[in-house]
């Protein structure tokens, strides 16, 4: 019995029925009327109500600015200790860059060294990057997309542009050229500066321009949520399978059927061209779906 009483007393204490927290207001007023002397806690409480909050807030702002400027100063100071820009003797000019520059074209078949590095030498990172886009677009879908009973056609109509002749006539001229440029940048990613990420961004931008000039109804027949899902899925699956094969053969020193081909040709550089196309699709779809979701919460 004694034990039980002890436990229940302990529980009551732990439950907060007996607590050290500052008392609630009514109690405080009652206390004040009986005792003229104020405890430290009450004084603090009153001060906090009256001016403490403002004081803390301004102190917080001052401290934030101070800490941020100290960190900025420290980092700027660090920059002055770094190797000078563009010197030949810098640590970055070592055997790594040497091989990329001298043997890159021969080994990967890509005239554009950057494409060779990101899609062949360090393709695992790029696979991670395209998955970053995928995971980002999935989280935006999760957050922004409303359920099935979303918007009716009339409500969607509100998001359509008002009659804007300047935008429309400019878009008419710009969209085809932009799309063409995007496709060119993707397809020539291994030959000239560009590639999946930049080309995809151009294509995505032109889709956004088209959609904002002519309205969602014109986009819907070709770009629905399903299409976006399928295209992303197919592109990423292709990337995973193709690069998985390449990693597997590389690590196990097996013969790979992928060869660099003749550098400079459009069909060359092994997997780089198809991977660029896959990345291009993922980037285009992600950009467009971001735009659509953020403007009308639906694709």
């Amino acid at each position: 019995m004694k034990n039980n009483r002890f436990v229940s007393a302990l529980v009551r204490f732990m439950d907060g029925e007996v607590s050290f927290e500052p008392k609630a207001k009514e109690e405080e007023i009652r206390r004040e009327s009986t005792h003229k002397e104020k405890t430290v806690a009450e004084r603090y409480y009153k001060w906090y109500e009256k001016s403490g909050y403002q004081t803390f807030k301004s102190a917080y702002i001052v401290a934030a600015v101070l800490i941020a400027s100290i960190i900025i100063g420290a980092l700027l100071l660090t920059v002055s200790y770094l190797p000078p820009y563009g010197e030949y003797a810098n640590p970055v000019n070592n055997e790594v860059t040497e091989r990329y520059i001298e043997k890159g074209m021969e080994e990967t078949g890509a005239v554009n060294i950057v494409a060779g590095v990101i899609l062949d030498y360090r393709a695992f990172d790029t696979f991670g990057e395209s998955c970053v886009l995928f995971v980002a677009s999935c989280s935006v879908m999760m957050l922004m997309k409303k359920g099935k009973k979303g918007k009716t056609e009339e409500m969607l109509e509100n998001y359509n542009p008002k009659r804007d002749p300047v935008l429309k006539s400019l878009a008419k001229v710009l969209v085809p050229f932009n799309l063409m440029l995007g496709i060119y940048v993707v397809l020539n990613g291994h030959l000239s500066p560009g590639g999946g990420f930049s080309g995809g961004a151009i294509m995505g931008a032109s889709l956004i321009l088209f959609s904002s000039a002519f309205g969602y109804r014109k986009v819907r027949p070709i770009l629905t949520e399903k299409v976006i899902k399928i295209v992303t899925f197919v592109s990423l699956t292709f990337y995973a399978v193709a690069k998985g094969y390449s990693f597997f053969t590389g690590a196990n020193h097996l013969h790979s059927i992928i060869n660099p081909g003749t550098p400079g040709r459009i069909i060359s550089a092994g997997l780089i061209l198809p991977l660029n196309i896959a990345v291009g699709f993922v980037v285009t779809m992600t950009m467009y779906s971001f735009y659509a979701l953020f403007t009308k919460e639906e694709i």
């Binding site: 529980v11 100071l77 200790y81 770094l82 790594v96």
Partner: protein, 495 residues
């Protein structure tokens, strides 16, 4: 190279592909595919671990056709395989135990997105554990950040959205600092892979050039990882994010996501910079101070909490302090003890969160002490799991937590002034831990007078997962020596 050396790569690839595949299926299939894939990774990692225990060695696995300084690479030994196994195990059983709640808490349209995020999160954790490349680590840190925020957000209500916002901002700050430090490492060494970067850093340290950037790099990495893994004073996001998310998310976030970054930090300390250089540059002392404060502040905050999940979340802050204490000691024994505590916390905290979820669902989903009183009689299994988890966290012998505290205090011996501080902090923190966990136990085990007890029916999957968690916890408490041996061998091969 034996075929078994492909397993880590398969784990990363199938979890990644699982995420991509899940985007095309409905919610039921998402759960099924997810379970199959995570079970597969558990089998793969477990097999690899068995193989590496029998024959301790490390493998360097080229990702592609180009060797070390040019192409990407993953590298693994017993320690990495052990961590991979623990990660798959914890994810699998957290999801199984939290399945009912996931389907209740998360909106129907979002459930398959939730599973996509889990898959990608696990894949990024594997990549963080196995990678041998700093930039790959950064890419997967990005995936990890977004996916972790998304699984907090999945339970869409005001609280979780606000918590996600805090978490996102802090987490992005951490990612940014980590990226800066990688840029600085590349600027002064010209290398991104860990082993060549280590060689270059040792050379720089001996010649005495670029000392300032090197110190800044270490500081940035430590702060970045401390933000990511909620070390005091960067812990403010944790209680909100872990306290308000759905149970499975909280379990995975505190059990695994925090740990992925700590393992990354240990790898950077041991493999990239080298432990003796880190000790000479005094970076560990900062971690030591923050760890000691975290151990005490986290516990005090947990005592003040009135909400069971937030209490467990603040307990995580204290436990992160323990792990960083091991790192902050700056010796090999400390790092080994930290690794052991990572495993202990990774299997105990998900159990605590799941059991708290079970207790709450037996108490009308209310999570404050008033409503939880007598919950043990309504849901005995969850209460037993909570009891064992608490005892383990306090550090009672025969439960997992005991070994960790024992090895941490052993590692603190012979460290001069650090020894006294560490032992004092361990003692104080243990007493504070006991204070809030015993309160919780007392509340849930004390009957309301005159209450008619309605037994809460646990789903079979929940019961199964809890039993497995309990068995593993007790097993680790009884047989910690073999695990320590694996970690010790693995740590030796990590360099």
């Amino acid at each position: 190279m034996p075929f078994i050396a492909n397993f880590p790569f398969f784990c990363i690839l199938i979890t990644m592909f699982g995420g991509i595949l899940t985007s095309m299926v409905n919610n039921k299939w998402a759960f099924r595919i997810n379970t199959v894939i995570i079970t597969a990774t558990l089998v793969l990692n477990g097999t690899l671990l068995m193989f590496l225990i029998k024959d301790p060695q490390y493998f360097t696995y080229m990702m592609g056709h180009y060797p070390a300084p040019w192409g990407n690479e993953i590298r693994f030994g017993p320690l990495e395989a052990l961590m991979g196994t623990v990660f798959s195990f914890v994810t699998l059983f957290s999801l199984i135990s939290g399945k009912t709640e996931i389907f209740e808490d998360v909106k129907t349209k979002n459930i398959h997105y939730f599973y996509i995020m889990i898959n990608l999160l696990l894949s990024s954790l594997f990549a963080l554990v196995y990678t041998n490349d700093l930039f790959t680590a950064y890419v997967f840190v990005e995936i990890n950040t977004i996916a972790a925020c998304a699984i907090v957000m999945a339970k869409e209500n005001g609280k979780t959205l606000a918590a996600t916002m805090r978490y996102l901002i802090m987490s992005l700050l951490g990612s940014g600092l980590f990226l800066l430090s990688i840029v600085l490492v590349y600027g002064i060494t010209g290398q991104l892979l860990m082993v060549p970067a280590h060689e270059a850093i040792v050379k720089l340290f001996q010649t005495g050039s670029y000392q300032v950037p090197l110190t800044v790099v270490l500081g940035l990495v430590c702060v970045a990882m401390a933000i990511k893994s909620a070390l005091f004073p960067f812990h403010t996001w944790l209680s909100h994010a872990h306290g308000s998310a759905t149970t499975a998310s909280s379990a995975i976030l505190s059990g695994l996501v925090l740990k992925g970054y700590i393992i990354m930090l240990i790898k950077i300390i041991v493999r990239v910079v080298g432990l003796d250089i880190v000790v000479q540059l005094k970076a560990v002392n900062i971690l030591f101070v923050m760890a000691v404060l975290a151990m005490i502040v986290g516990s005090v905050k947990a005592i003040q909490e009135n909400h069971i999940k937030r209490m467990i979340a603040f307990s995580s802050v204290a436990q992160m302090g323990y792990i960083y204490l091991g790192i902050g000691l700056g010796n090999m024994a400390g790092l080994i003890a930290a690794c052991f505590h990572i495993i202990v916390h990774a299997i105990t905290k998900p159990m605590l969160f799941s059991s708290a979820g079970g207790l709450a669902s037996a108490s009308h989903h209310k999570k404050d002490w008033g409503h939880l009183r007598g919950a043990a009689y309504r849901n005995p299994l969850a209460a037993v799991a909570f009891l064992i988890g608490s005892l383990s966290m306090i550090g009672i012998p025969f439960f997992a937590g005991f070994g960790a505290k024992y090895y941490l205090s052993m590692a603190a011996m012979d460290m001069g002034a650090k020894m006294w501080v560490a032992l004092f902090a361990l003692a104080v923190s243990t007493v504070l831990n006991a204070l809030y966990y015993i309160r919780a136990i007392a509340v849930i085990f004390s009957k309301n007078e005159g209450e008619i007890i309605e037994k809460h029916k646990n789903s079979a999957s929940y019961a199964f997962a809890m039993v497995i968690f309990i068995i593993v916890n007790v097993a680790l408490g009884l047989f910690y020596q073999p695990v320590m041996d694996v970690i010790t061998i693995g740590m030796g091969l990590l360099i």
